[in-house]
Symmetry: D3
Subunit: 71 residues, 6 copies
């Protein structure tokens, strides 16, 4: 289902790896700058969205779930 | 306190905006590729870390808090 | 931006109350069955989505953020 | 242990499906209006609470973990 | 409402500080060993639970929201 | 990578149990007062940090992920 979501962060990238577990699936997304973002979502969601290496996608993160660190 | 944390995602960037509330503070971080990441942390943390525009920092996100979306 | 998201839960309802803070905004959503769901999102997101009482919307929740309780 | 919790959302329903993994278990809860809510909790919690299809339960969600979306 | 919740962590302590914002309230809980835990919950929840300094309470945390760090 | 993080809570303890799944690993941390904290992190993070029983570590939790309960 297509929708506009309140999550402040939607970083465009592409899937580079998928590791399927019993309940959850780990998806690695490469951003254009070369950084990777790792996501753990349910196996069913990963399957429904057709997440396979090479597929363009977004890493979506609610602002209250982002921490900040300094050296 | 310096530590190595289990969070899979630590994206390097710099602070570009800080909006201070009563309990929480919103911090906007610019990544090298030009993307912005918005974070909401407690006001005290933002103050302790000395987050002001221009300061280098990391956006840190636990993998289980990252969703994936497709067009 | 329209997208299909991995979050397993998207409950259809309508906005019945909005309480705006400095950084965050609290949005109350009424489900068809009469239950209310309370959401806290950033003030800017609430504003961008045009969330005002009466507006149809979805409460979206990642499955790993839902707990279960029994009496 | 019985307690009153700060989480703003406790939606009454009943378990309709349980999928057990190595670490986590996925629990599907049906609300009276017919909507389903999917939860991923630890296997041990699901076991301790005796979550089996048909059991009355609540889906409990902290307000800051609820996003809002519009069409 | 009294309930048994799936969250794996419920640390017993007492409220030692409360800082009220527009939408959220910050609650500081002291554990018996002397450690403090900081919680940010909605203002309404803090009010409903009657959280004032000295009140016995629990810090409740879903296991998937706990990270691990090493020196 | 060593860093100072915005998460308000870093409770010192030691690993007492590790349960490895396909995607996630459950880590049990004992605090000095005798309380246990359960964490679910990705298998790769647990491996990288060398989390084995007896290892000193911190349970790190963002304040907005801590709920409060009363009897």
């Amino acid at each position: 289902m297509q929708m506009n979501i309140s999550a402040r962060n939607a970083l465009k990238g592409k899937v580079v790896n998928v590791n399927v577990g019993v309940v959850n699936t780990e998806v690695v997304i490469e951003l254009p700058g070369g950084d990777n973002i790792v996501s753990v979502i349910s196996k069913e969601s990963a399957s429904k969205l057709g997440l396979v290496p090479g597929k363009p996608c977004y890493a979506v993160i609610k602002a209250s779930h982002v921490m900040v660190a300094v050296d």
